[in-house]
């Protein structure tokens, strides 16, 4: 028998792990020695079983509340479907389920209930916030050390953990209910925007964003300075309140820990 190149042997074993086709199983079986009390089938199956258990555990750990939402049977169906649809292509298991929201949004029966994909998306955002890069925060102290005349030119930067997400259903509320070991309300269509980040105590935190605050945050993301934010608020509220409202927003962001110290002034 001709020697089988290493690359072919490796491909045959990987094929066996991800494909239940008996021909694929037979192909790798041919390459395995039969000896001792255990059959080749049992030997190979140790690897196949470990492959499925490991990936299932990864999804269970990443998506605990989604698991409660779906119940065991649907969760198992999801896991099997996802493992078959998206074999892992990343070195790190941390990224294995990155495409789970996409899978749930496009595969029946899950795509018939969009809240399922949204809950999965929310859980993945929490994970991103959890171990995003560190950065020194913008504090009240830093603000008070900044000369008042420079405040209008202050341009803020968000902490690397900050995520903003739109939801079309009561997905985050459902997630919160499950976290508190309560039954979630039935899915209802409602638009909401959420801010997620890792706070000063390194805990992942989230809250809903009112439209006005979302607009201000978008302005900052587009490079607006503090004076620009005040100008926008002048169109929204009474002139004598605008600067106070802007200041209150700033203090909230500082206390939440979503701004980083590398705010800078840039005269226009």
């Amino acid at each position: 028998m001709d020697k089988l190149p290493l690359a072919s042997l490796q491909q045959k074993l990987i094929n066996y792990l991800i494909d239940d086709d008996p021909i694929v199983t037979h192909t790798i079986m041919e390459q395995i020695t039969d000896h001792g009390n255990i059959t080749r089938d049992v030997r190979l199956n140790i690897y196949k079983n470990a492959y499925h258990v490991r990936l299932k555990e990864t999804i269970e750990n990443d998506h605990e509340m989604l698991g409660f939402f779906l119940g065991d049977d649907l969760f198992d169906q999801m896991v099997l479907g996802y493992i078959n649809a998206y074999p892992s292509d990343n070195t790190s298991l941390r990224h294995f389920a990155d495409k789970l929201p996409l899978f749930l949004a496009s595969h029946p029966p899950f795509n018939g209930h969009p809240i399922i994909s949204e809950i999965a998306h929310f859980e993945r955002l929490l994970m991103i916030a959890f171990d995003a890069a560190n950065a020194d925060r913008f504090t009240r102290q830093v603000l008070s050390n900044t000369p008042h005349e420079q405040w209008p030119e202050l341009i803020f930067r968000f902490h690397p953990s900050v995520q903003i997400a739109n939801f079309n259903y009561n997905s985050v509320e459902a997630w919160q209910s499950l976290k508190q070991e309560q039954s979630p309300e039935p899915a209802i269509k409602q638009n909401s925007i959420w801010l997620l980040w890792r706070n000063n105590d390194r805990l992942t935190q989230f809250r809903s964003l009112p439209p006005q605050e979302k607009y201000l945050i978008d302005m900052i993301l587009n490079g607006a300075n503090f004076a620009d934010l005040c100008d926008f608020l002048l169109q929204e509220i009474e002139e004598d309140q605008a600067s106070q409202v802007a200041f209150n927003y700033l203090l909230t962001w500082i206390d939440d820990g979503i701004l980083i110290q590398k705010a800078f002034t840039q005269p226009k």
Partner: protein
Amino acid sequence: MHNLITNQATAREHSLSSGVSGIVPPEHFLGFGLGLRTDHFQDVLATKPNIDWFEVVSENFMVDGGKPKHYLHAIRELYPMVMHGVGLSIGSTDPLNMQYLRKLKVLVNELQPEWISDHLCWTGVNQTNSHDLLPLPYNEEALNHVCDRVNQVQDFLGRPILLENLSSYITYKESEMSEWDFFNQVARRSGCEILLDINNIYVSARNHDFKSQDYLDGIDKDKVKQFHLAGHTDYGNYVIDTHDHPVSDPVWDLYKQALKRFGWISTMIERDDNIPPLAELLAEVETARNIAYSTLGQLETLPQWERTT
């Protein structure tokens, strides 16, 4: 680039003295350690247990920031560390994953570990990852391939790596030599060093019907730098390397034999599942220490209060 930890514990400060009996462990001997797990972060920092070093799983900290890194840095300030990887895939026929290696190098710079290790295996091919430690066929083609890649990795990292033997359940028809012969030749040819997992030798010996002692005898004495000790699950006909039990008696016995052959080798307990309270694992580390002392002679440990960091 992350801030380097400026106040790192070094092995020298934690070294075990030779005592009155004239026993001199080799320079690289770190003592007796434990695999650091998330469950124990807070306990370690709160109790500062009397343990010589920790091993961390590299991939768990290839993240940008957050709580895990915060704890890692805090613990690194107190203890010497070694880094142990599961994702290098040194035996894969895919090109080396340079993105992975760059992240590894960043972490090495950050932690300044005593050494870094991974496994003599492959984990995936053609962009599909099994996230498992899959065995290689033990033949000349695989040997050349692995040695080539070890050289590349060592050149990139600028230091030798350690490779670890794995537990395995299959033997390929393409194999032409024993695992220990293959392993030893990899170490000799590539200049890498050896992390010998005593439990894995036991597990594979049971699954493939060879003698554990033959494995120990087939490895060059001067190549081994670290021992792993772990638990397994015995299914009668075969044994699976589950890392979810305490170290079993046959593995402790094999550890004694390994000590007799290789002498003072940095030893640690590795537990990955069904993780018990820290105290239970520390007791297992003490068991390893006592077995080593009764086999090789007593060493004196520096009292906790004499440790400087």
